[in-house]
Amino acid sequence: MSAGASVTAMPAENRGWQRDLIGIAAILVAAIAGYFLFPNNLALLTRMIAIMLLVLSLDLVTGYCGVATLGHAALFGSGAYAAGIAAAHFGITEPLTMIAIGAVGGALAGLISGVVILRGHGLAQLVLSIAIIHLFHEAANKASEYTGGSDGLSGISPDPILGVFEFDLWGRTAYVFGIVLLLLVFILLRILVRSPFGMLCRGIRQDPVRVSAMGASVKLTLIKMYVISGLVAGVGGAFNAVSTQVVGLDSLSFTNSAEALVMLVLGGVGSLYGALIGTIAFVWIEDLVSAANPFHWLTIVGALLIAVVLFAPKGLYGTAATLVERYRRGGK
């Protein structure tokens, strides 16, 4: 590109959406392959989808905005309980409405956690996030009249989707429903992270001082992103409630939060693709290893994680993307 006198040297628009089309196609292919390869294991794949939504949501605040949190399941669990309580206590059993209620519940939880967690920075932020998840957990435990406490919330029986597709014993409907939700969320999030707002968030992660020197509000932007993140996690939680028909306290647990972070790091932060790949890898390995060795599976998972962090610090997707990039540059 020559630096001419006029501004005709302006480069053309980046074709980033082409990569997104490939990504969407890859999700579809993987979804169809999963359906036919593991017809008896659709429940596991469906659980994967719910967790993927949680990890995607975490990627928004951690990967794109640089907020360290170990309390992100608060958003997921709030969505699950919101949808579950609406169904079990208020008779709202229309699945799409339940998902919407879950999204609102998650967004509210996102607003509350965002306001609290963003008071701190670094280590203080991490500690606040841990406090948040324990408070949410305890609140759900104490409000057993609504949440069922440690027994879990049961009695959720969603109607057929759109009045046509009934939830079957093999979990086929739930699986397809999940894939549709996931694709929808993924496309919307790809649009979001490429937007000016997404760019501002990436800027905040890299240098918040520079962003405020541009006259933008760091705090307000982060809180907005937290609410969006809550919407996504809430959809995930609500989907989990719809597909499993129970909500347990573990959905609001520290363990759930920490595992989501591990999955994100495993896949690679800040790309959304990493969130998907990390979840598949973690849940799949967990399933495989716990079947092979039910006593020491956590040790094996831990060892694998150390290997990834040491040898592929950008995560599975991040490392692969770097290798492809290097190959392309070298090829030119």
Binding site: M1, N14, S195, P196, F197, M199, V209, G215, S217
Partner: protein, 253 residues
């Protein structure tokens, strides 16, 4: 001409150490002022006080007669008071194109948009490349900042400040860290600043100061000891003593 930007009796102490002592100064449209002083004179503290990153113990900062002393840094930027940083503060993984476009979107109040891409906005792209062009950065438009030279990063830093269309620009050592052979790049960029912009530059490179500034303010131990023409600064006894030393003697000879 009435003052566009005023600092009125600014005071700041860290414990028993008075780092800013009763500092007052005013800038008018089109001013080119250099703020100099030996290390530890309180120059960077002064910038931080003015931009709202530090709270003064007393005194006021005014823009166009309006008291902005209680504004946070973000609101001061929006009021037209923009700074550059002594050590570049850029987004390492982002490209110059993205930096400038983000600053344009922010200025236009569009940085909160959650759909669309700046590359699909012709007016934003046109302005982005106009600005990159004036600073000779067009060819680097799509290279991540971490891969461009420090001198070019300094230029981008100036580009960002310009993009925000400030009324008053505080340049905190724009040539710091740039190899001497590349200082002319910075100087060319400074020569292209809009004529009606008021500029206050903090700088150590005396050649640059004396070529750029029409007025020099000397800060020593937190106090203004000189405010006037550059030529007079080199002849002022207190300034020589506090700071210039050999340089003043050298250039007078």
């Amino acid at each position: 001409m009435s003052a566009l930007f005023e600092v009125d009796h600014l005071q700041k102490a860290f414990g028993g150490l008075n780092v800013t002592r009763d500092v007052s100064l005013a800038l008018c449209k089109g001013d080119r002022v250099a703020l100099i002083g030996p290390n530890g004179a309180g120059k960077t503290t002064f910038v931080n006080l003015v931009t709202g990153h530090l709270r003064p113990d007393s005194g006021q900062v005014l823009m166009g007669g309006e008291d902005i002393s209680n504004f946070n840094p973000m609101k001061r930027v929006r009021a037209g008071l923009v700074r550059s940083f002594q050590v570049t503060r850029l987004f390492a993984e982002m490209t110059p194109e993205e930096h400038v476009a983000l600053a344009i979107l922010q200025r236009q109040g569009k940085s909160g948009r959650m759909a669309g891409s700046f590359q699909a906005m012709p007016d934003v792209m046109r302005e982005t490349y106009e600005i990159l062009e004036t600073l000779n950065l067009t060819a680097l438009g799509r290279v991540p900042v971490s891969e461009i030279s420090y001198g070019q990063q300094r230029l981008l830093e100036i580009a960002l400040a310009l993009t925000l269309r400030p009324k008053v620009l505080l340049l905190d050592e724009p040539a710091a860290g740039v190899p001497h052979s590349d200082t002319f790049l910075i100087e060319n960029a400074l020569a292209q600043l809009p004529a009606d912009l008021a500029v206050l530059m903090i700088e150590h490179d005396m050649d640059l100061v004396f070529r750029f500034a029409k007025r020099v303010i000397v800060l020593a131990a937190g106090e203004i000891i000189f405010d006037g023409l550059p030529v007079d600064a080199t002849n002022d006894l207190r300034v020589r003593e506090a700071y210039l030393g050999g340089y003043a003697n050298g250039s007078a000879a």
